[in-house]
């Protein structure tokens, strides 16, 4: 298809979309309107189960089954990336050379590693109370480990990051979520129903029934998944070279 024809098609489709979308927007409830029937019911349900962060309550209590699907998408995507980015025929692995890092960068990143790790774990642990949760905190934990790559070098990162262990952790996080769901089933209720544990005191860490546990399972899975993902991409950039190119 020539470039001209493609632009013509795009202009046609874009104009059609713009017209239909604008027409639909005019029929939507006004921006900032006070009527949110689903939102009000979600807030009510979250308060009934002593979960201070309503978004977490929606994700891990009312829509816990959807979050299982979401988690499985992440799991499948990591699996796909691992398969796509494996070492292929005609490629070989080289040991990356240690490189000198500017002293201020090194010092700052070594100070920041424990701070960032702790922040990530805090965000996971307080997912049922304050903004955050397993997904956000897991990403912070995984990125914290990679500060070592910036501050020291690739070998230092590999020492604290045995990829095999994180692959197991990824699967264990996914499995923990399923087991918690099945526990609801065994407890005489529905799959992933939040009826098993006491709801606790409002606005304390052990509140919200299974919400903190599901948060922790997700946090573990996301942290491990991001570490495995980044490891595969870093391998491509740093370690794997074209065998014939040498």
């Amino acid at each position: 298809m020539s470039r001209r024809l493609r632009m013509l098609l795009l202009a046609l489709g874009g104009a059609g979309f713009a017209a239909l979308f604008a027409a639909a927007c005019l029929e939507l409830p006004h921006f900032g309107a006070a009527r949110h029937p689903y939102g009000e019911r979600a807030v009510h349900a979250a308060l009934a189960r002593h979960t201070a962060n309503v978004v977490s309550a929606v994700n891990f209590d009312q829509r816990a089954f959807d979050t299982l699907g979401e988690e499985s998408i992440l799991f499948a995507a990591v699996l796909g990336t691992v398969v796509l980015l494996r070492q292929t025929r005609g490629e070989r692995q080289v040991r990356p050379e240690p490189v000198a890092v500017a002293r201020p960068v090194r010092r700052y990143s070594l100070v920041m590693v424990p701070v960032a790790l702790l922040t990530g774990l805090y965000v996971v642990a307080h997912g049922q109370l304050s903004p955050g949760g397993g997904f956000q905190g897991g990403v912070v934990v995984a990125t914290a480990l990679h500060l070592l790559y910036i501050g020291v070098d690739y070998q230092a990162l590999e020492r604290i990051r045995p990829v095999g262990g994180y692959e197991v952790g990824d699967a264990a996080g996914e499995a923990a979520y399923l087991v918690l769901g099945a526990a609801g089933l065994l407890g005489g209720s529905a799959f992933l129903a939040n009826t098993l544990l006491p709801y606790g005191t409002f606005n304390t860490i052990p509140s919200g029934g299974t919400v903190p546990l599901l948060n922790a399972a997700i946090g573990m899975e996301v942290a491990c998944a991001v570490v495995v993902l980044l490891a595969r991409f870093l391998d491509q950039a740093v370690e794997i070279v074209d065998g014939s190119g040498e």
Binding site: L10, G14, L28, G32, G39, A42, E70, A77, F202
Partner: protein
């Protein structure tokens, strides 16, 4: 203008589509897809907004003391962000392989069949 935030989401989507159609680099195309996805975040959050509303988190707000924005669409946006990130990772892995196999990342040069 009470429809402006919705229209902004549509405009972002169209900008992403334009980038996808005219892209000359696959990484750029993946970035444009991320722009298209971001438009859905804006649309979802705009639908859930309430004038004067605060975050639906009660760690420092007494229940019932202030209006809240809709937590359901915020949870949907979180799902959206996670799925968007995984799709981006998978597509970038594909780009790495395309670059290795074909020696080019220009979508227009990838038309010939091989193998």
């Amino acid at each position: 203008m009470s429809v402006l935030p919705y229209l902004a989401a549509g405009w972002m989507f169209l900008a992403g589509c334009y980038g996808l159609a005219t892209s000359r680099h696959l990484v750029h195309a993946v970035g444009c897809l991320a722009v298209c996805q971001s438009s859905t975040y804006v649309l979802l959050l705009a639908v859930g907004y309430r004038t004067g509303g605060t975050a639906p988190v009660f760690s420092d707000v007494r229940p019932g003391s202030r209006p809240l924005v809709d937590p359901v669409v915020q949870a949907l946006t979180l799902t959206d962000v996670v799925v968007g990130a995984t799709v981006t990772a998978l597509l970038l892995a594909l780009v790495v392989q395309v670059a290795k196999r074909h020696g080019t990342v220009d979508p227009d040069e990838l038309s010939e069949l091989r193998g």
